[in-house]
Each structure stands twice: as C-alpha cells, then as structure tokens.
C-alpha cells in the first residue's frame, strides 16, 4: 500500500478512492480494538488532541474523544459557549493560543462552512473537520461507507438512495462525494425546496418519488429534517413531509429483502422514519455509531504520522 500523505482531513473530495480504501482497511483493525476487554492501544501515546466544537454535538464529539482515548492520546474539550470566544476573541486567536500549548491535532466543528480550511491554512497542527456548516462531514461519510462495505461487501455498483433535507445536509454532501468516487450509483430524493440547485452536476440522479427509490435501493440513507433550519418555510408542514418522505413499514413493502437503512442521527422518530423502522431488521443505525469510533481511530492514527509541509503560513 502507498504511504499516507494527508496532513489534514477537511473534505472527502481531497481523498482518492485508494486513500478512502486505506482508511476503511485501517478501521477494520481498530474495530477489533474496541471489542477487547482492554480497549486501548499505545499508538498515539504522548499526542494531544483538542476537540474544538462551536456547535452542539453528542455523537461526533464522544466518538472522536473515545477514538483518541483508545489510541492513548490526551484529549481536551472546548465548547464555544464556555470559551473566550464568548468574550470576543477571534477564532484564529483562540486556535493559535490552543496550538501554542503544543497541540498535535484539532478536531473542529463550526456552523460556518470553511472554518476548518481557514484554520488549516494558519496552523501546523493537523485539522480534522467534524462538520462545517452545510458543507462537509468527512468522517461521517467514511463511517457510512465502512458500514455499507461491511454489510454488502462492496461499494462499487450499489444503489444508494439519500432521502430528505439534502440542502442543509453536510452528511449528504460528503457521502455523495465519497460514494460516487468509489463507484456507487447515488439517487437523491426530497421536496424540491430541500434539493440544492444543480446538484445533478455532482453525478447523482434526482427524483421526488420515494417509492421508486425504495424499490431500487440497496442502501437507504435517511437524513434528519433539520427543524432548526426550517423557519424559512421550506415545507408546508412537518406532518405533510412525514407523510410523503417519511419511511414506514408500509412503504418498505416494495424494498429489497436485504436493504439496509442508515441514519446519521439524531433521528426524529415519526418524521423521517417510523419507530418500528428505526428499530427494525433493515436498520443499521447503531452499527454506524459503533463503526464511527473505529473510523475516527483510523483517521487519527493515519494523520498523526504526517508532518505539515509548510507552504505559506499566512
């Protein structure tokens, strides 16, 4: 295998199909570590990783933190609400101060797209994007692809339907990049108001007919209806959305027998999917969470080995 050369993980489109493959292969070994009695290996002993979260998160932050700890790295959590940012410090100053304490990696989430990229241009530490605005969430897409590959044995040639609020979804964007790069056929389905304009240019099919998507899909990826971003009247009502685009047992009657249903969480039971589907035989939602730790361990491990090639440090 080729040596890993990425210093940051900002977007999935920065990775080649071979590199995506390498992350997934490495994650396989780390999944075994999490299944041990002693869930810890000394690979990143002495490294310091800061979780810089400007947006609320339970799953992603916990997952990154467990991943770092299982690799024996030291972790520090910084939430925007309790940091100096609330006193008016700029993001760059906050990040530079953190880096001045000899931090090796910074995992960052922010409501604005591009913040991780901005930090990567100015800091020597490895930057890992844990979600920036509606743009990118690379580790989520990697863990989704890992889960698909584990369940179906391949990614190339499978049919993936992504249903819901594509417009606001960084998870969808990263998955579209990764899945199409690895040769999957991706179909997007949702109300026209929640589908980005010209999204077909990313190499995907668009439809508003959920039944046809359910019928042909090997993987159904449901997205959370982001209620906090619905004030602009994208939908007539949440109930209507649930009736037309929500997945329940009745609609799944036409599905393939071994269809897998994924959701990046948190789920709105009764809106994008019914409770019996979320807990049903097709659902791999909790497997995704388990695999998330393994994928993040793989990403941290691989990035830890590379040094910043100092281009222009601005």
């Amino acid at each position: 295998m080729m040596p890993w050369s990425q210093h940051n993980l900002l977007d999935l489109q920065d990775l080649s199909a071979v590199e995506i493959e390498m992350v997934m292969e490495t994650a396989k070994s780390f999944k075994e570590v999490s299944a041990r009695e002693v869930k810890k290996v000394p690979a990143l002993r002495g490294k310091t990783i800061v979780m810089l979260f400007f947006e609320p998160s339970t799953r992603t932050r916990t997952s990154f933190e467990l991943a770092a700890k299982r690799l024996s790295a030291d972790t520090v959590n910084i939430a925007a609400s309790s940091s100096s940012l609330s006193k008016g410090e700029t993001i760059l100053d906050t990040a530079r101060n953190i880096e001045a304490m000899n931090v090796d990696m910074i995992v960052v989430r922010h409501a604005s797209a591009g913040v991780p990229h901005f930090l990567a241009r100015h800091l020597k530490a490895s930057i890992i994007n844990a979600g920036d605005g509606c743009r990118s969430h690379p580790t989520q897409a990697l863990l989704d692809m890992f889960t698909i590959n584990e369940r179906l044995g391949r990614i190339k040639g499978i049919n993936v339907g992504i249903v819901g609020d594509i417009l606001h979804s960084r998870v969808a964007r990263s998955n579209i990049w990764g899945l199409t790069r690895c040769g999957a056929n991706v179909t997007l389905c949702g109300p026209s108001t929640l589908l980005p304009v010209e999204v077909e240019k990313m190499g995907v099919r668009i439809t508003h007919d959920l039944d046809s998507v359910i019928k042909q899909s090997d993987v159904l990826m449901l997205l959370r209806l982001q209620k906090e971003r619905q004030q602009e009247k994208f939908l007539p009502s949440v109930r209507e959305y649930a009736r037309v685009f929500g997945v329940d047992r009745e609609k799944l009657k036409v599905a393939k027998k071994d269809l897998i249903i994924m959701h990046p969480g948190p789920t709105n039971r009764g809106i994008e999917l019914s409770a019996d589907v979320a807990d049903g035989e097709h659902s791999v939602i909790l497997e995704q969470v388990t695999n998330g730790v393994a994928i993040r361990m793989a990403v941290l491990y691989l990035l830890a080995g590379t040094k910043q090639r100092l281009a222009d440090s601005g």
Binding site: W4, V41, P42, L71, Y301
Partner: protein, 182 residues
Amino acid sequence: MTPATKIMDKDGIRRALLRIAHEILEKNKGTQDLCLIGIRTRGTVLAERIRDCIKQIEGIEVPVGILDITLYRDDLTLIASQPVVRETLIDFDMTGKKVVLVDDVLFTGRTIRAALDAIIDFGRPDVIHLAVLIDRGHRELPIRADYVGKNIPTALNQDVKVLLQPTDRKQDQVVIEQRKIR
C-alpha cells in the same frame, strides 16, 4: 551485492519446527491450556505449522491466534508515515493459558517487547514462552527465546530472510543477504 547464502532449506525448517513442537510439549507437559500466538506475517505461518506438528504428535489441535504489533511499536514517532495496521485475530481468552509466542527471526527484541505488551492487554496468561525459527543475536533488550530453530551469528550489515509458503512465492528457505550500501 553479494549473492544470498542459503542457511536452511525446506527440510531443515520442517525438522526444526518438529523439534520445537516436541520441546513445547515436553516443557508444558502436554497440550493442557496451551495456545500459540503468531506474530504477523511469518510468525503466523510458523505458528500454524507448529500446531500441525503438535496435532501429528498428540492428536490435539491447540488454538492459534494472530497478532499484529504495529500499534505497539516503539518507533511510531520516529518514522515518516504510519505503517499499515492489520487485524489482530485472537478469538480465545489468554488468561490462565500457557502462551507460546512465535516469530520468524529474533533480532533486537523490540518486536517481542511490543508483542508482550499487546498480549498483556488481552489478558493475563500463566506463562509466555517464545519460539523463533532463527536467533541472529544483536539484542537491544533483555529478551531471550525458549525454543530456537537455529542460532546464526550475523553481522549488523546483513539481513536474514525467512521465506515461507504461501506468504512468499518461493520454496521454504532461510537466506542471509549483505545489505546494500546506499
């Protein structure tokens, strides 16, 4: 480069492993609580062959685990990019067991140090023994082998290569090569 010198052939390896299997059984008084752990990649092949020898002798198949020591290496911070991690497959509990660690060449002892740390993370075996096909000297840590196929005095500028089927596409053999001067 001087040509490689063959120091052990297929039959030599077979006989050495058969003797090691006998020694393991003698020292442990049979197969009770015995298990073998092969260090990836060639240690695994050797562990499986020793298991087959033990089966021939005693008619009992002892469990074999596969250990990847990459995450326990002491030079991770010194090398340029992270080495490839492969799966560790140990599907039995090692607590209270007599573990025989198997590797192809014993050299500095650093691989074995890493393997010992990894095993301790899995459980608490009663004893850990070490079996190697070749002991080439030059230890950097206080580690020795309990079962040795062949002791070979070497110079530091030499490489000892163990070739085994099916990992290597050549016939089983052990060769010494002069390292290329860069």
